[in-house]
Amino acid sequence: MNKSSEKTKSTVTIDTSGYEVATQEIRSEAKRLLTEKIVDAVVGYQGGRRGGSAVPVVITDPDQAEKLVFSAACVNNLSIYLTKAKKEIRAKGKLAVVAKGCDLRALAGLMGESQFKREEVVIIGVTCAGVHRAGTQPGQPLTDSTIAKKCRECSVHIPEGSDLIVGKLPPLPNLSPTEKELMEKLDAMTPALRWEFWKEQFTRCIRCLACRQVCPFCYCEQCLCDRGRPQAVDTSPRPSGNMGWHIVRAMHLAGRCAGCAECERVCPMDIPLNLLNRKMAEELKELYHYEAGLKPVEKGPLTSYDEKDDQSFIK
């Protein structure tokens, strides 16, 4: 995917000097939180084996704080480590987590779903100009052609509502909204053509379930789609089961997904999964004027009843 942006070899480079500042501030804050025993562990990023790459890390020792970094390679949504599914991390005690604006929206959603309480977590928010798209070689500068699709249309550069906001925002270039353009293209299709499009996409799915493993909202102890008796979805990577899985996934994320697009990033078959999530989010906005992840919400529109809800579908 993303062929259009590859073709236009652009020279627009985004200033990421703020990430150096952020790294320093994250380190000192992590050190302080651990030394003062405000938290028992900090979930953040550290440099990977290949220069310029980054991987998630959980540190419990103040001396390890120097390991922490923030760069354009810090693509992962760390909120996944706070769900009840990650028992070993939750067992460490009170946690601090490094969060970009997009990750923070997932944290807000998880709080609304009783996964943790606000006072149980210290959120270190990072001002973020964007991160690399999947497949970018480590160490590359952040440019029009290496930036992730979601970052092109980001509206949450500054993670408002964090306990501490680190880094600073550089002047941002105007990038073309490639995902929005694709959405519009799909919306313009006839239902039959759109169905063909998705059928084609899902035939590629190998059911590695990376999209599920990386999703902050897929924290069920046992996934409905893994159940055998009764079996809701065929578990082998065949067209009917693939279609079933992706529809279940999209439906289960409706009103919850805040668009971190991790599913799409990790998909080895390059299926544009975030399009589905985004479409559901648009429907929610249109029908219920609701946007997921803006703040922790006790009852979302799909778990509450209001007399004023749209009922035009009842015929």
Partner: protein, 665 residues
Amino acid sequence: MSRIGVFICHCGENISRTVDVEQVAQAARQMVGVAYACDYKYMCSDPGQTLLKKAVAEQRLEGIVVAACSPRMHEKTFRNAAQGAGLNPFLCEMANIREHCSWVHDDRAEATAKATDIVRMLVERVRKNKKLIPITVPVTKRALVIGGGIAGIQAALDIADCGHQVVLVEREPSIGGHMAMLSETFPTLDCSQCIMTPRMVDVVNHPNIILHTYSEIESVDGYIGNFSITIKKKARSVDMAKCTGCGVCMEKCPQKKIPNEFDKNLGFRPAIYVPFPQAVPNTPVIDREHCTKFINGKCGVCQKVCGPGAVDYEQQDQLVVEQVGAIVVATGFKLYDIGEKPKGSAIKGYGEFGHGKIPDVIDGLTFERLASASGPTGGKIVRPSDGKEPKQVVFVQCVGSRAREKGISYCSKVCCMYTAKHTMLYKHKVHDGQAYVFFMDARTPGKSYDEFWRRAIEEEEAVYIRGMVSRVYQKGEKVVVMGSDIAVGVQVEIEADLVVLATAIQPRDGADTLAQKLGISYDKYHFYSEAHAKLRPVECATAGIYLAGACQGPKDIPETVAQASAAAAKVMTLFSKDKLEREPIVARVNEKYCVGCFACKKVCAYGAVEEKEIRDRQGNLIRVVAYVNPGVCSGCGTCQATCPSKSVELDGYTDEQVMAMLETL
């Protein structure tokens, strides 16, 4: 291998006319798990049930499918029969081949095939059925009655006489409701207050009735047999324990010119007042909106003159919690105020009738106050504008009611009768006066009702004009009523001295909010809905809540009293047992897989889902999971549909069962 018996009913000819029942029985015998199948003309009859019981014993059956009518009709019948035969009743299921098949299809071959498929699905379901044990919950033998009009009073007295405590909550400072405002009642013309006030006194003197007046329902928690009600007692500003009801405060209150709501604003009352002399309780209340002490702090006369020192300006609203097992809702009605179009409502108003603008255009309740001996004129019928005796009075029926184009399509039921009564009361007081009535039809079904209406025309000389009124306007001292007489086919104009509009009956304001607190349903007009229009007319669909009086729909006094006693009987039936048995069709959480997102808790309309802590042996909290309280769960299955990981299942309707039913097709 299960041994299931399939019993196919002809339902006389209702099923066998379109479904080949023998063929269905034959097909059933081939189904996996079926040990026995037969058909019979009336399976629900005594011989039919005997056949079933005999087959269970002889064939050693372990499950039963009765292919007949809707489970709503006879599920209970056959489950009882199964129990009689020694089976767990929940191993018996109905396959609905009547409503779902024979009644809606013509083609015999296709209907037979469909009936076979329905039986096949139910056999699969029964194969995976489990024995279920009914759930028992304790019953708190105290009742809550909401509303102290004649409906609430009747229900409260009946329940209290049966020996159970009743909590009666009334919004106004006194009980009595609308009936206390009426002058005389149809069809006997006996004085309303004379029959009403003794009942009010019975309430206050009854050892089993706890009366909360000037109070409202704040919140309702719990379920049938175990409700917890929070009641807001509004600050009366008078200590009920100290007040002797001597009335000196009311005499001395300098603020005397406040329109009296009880007299439909025709008379005046002081700021510290009882709504009417026979009020129960006879304890005044301070109207803080109009009291000088509360407006600018400069009076305090009532406190000075009060001998027992009962006046308390500092009194605050108070919350009281009462535990009850059943609730009777009797919140009554209001009269349609037609002067203005209500905001945001589909109801259009009657600006053309000048109600609220022309002083001599009044509604039926105002006329009741004018005619009442205890009313503002002492029972003398006079015009509100100049106090003169009206010599020509025009009554207009169906104002608001039966006017689809104006937003209300129902009939208010009592107006035909009370208008006939009004013409008589008028004639009895103004012998040389003439009453005219514009009407669409006269609806007089009821004991002695039609005779009463005929008497108004034939003996009391009321002139009935069949036709509608188009406009009412002031012309000098007169009020001109323009209308049509469709019997003659002409337009008529009457120069009247007084016009009385029989306006529609509507539910009380806030009826919808109360319904939401109680979790009961209401129609588009906000009248409360009964569980079944014919067979369960006083029960709500929500267990343990019953309806009485006009809050459910327009009603006259005898009907209201009858319904109130019926509601009381339902409450007493509930209270006749110490424990309540409930169907065990309830949701159950798989605690191993529940991840505690509590989506189920959010969607549960009954508040049945709780948070349960799972601890290890040392008492350390491991995790929090959902728990369904079986006493509260109504088995709707919403949680099951909502749970993302399907960690909650409805007994009797498990995913496994539903999937097996689908897969067998």
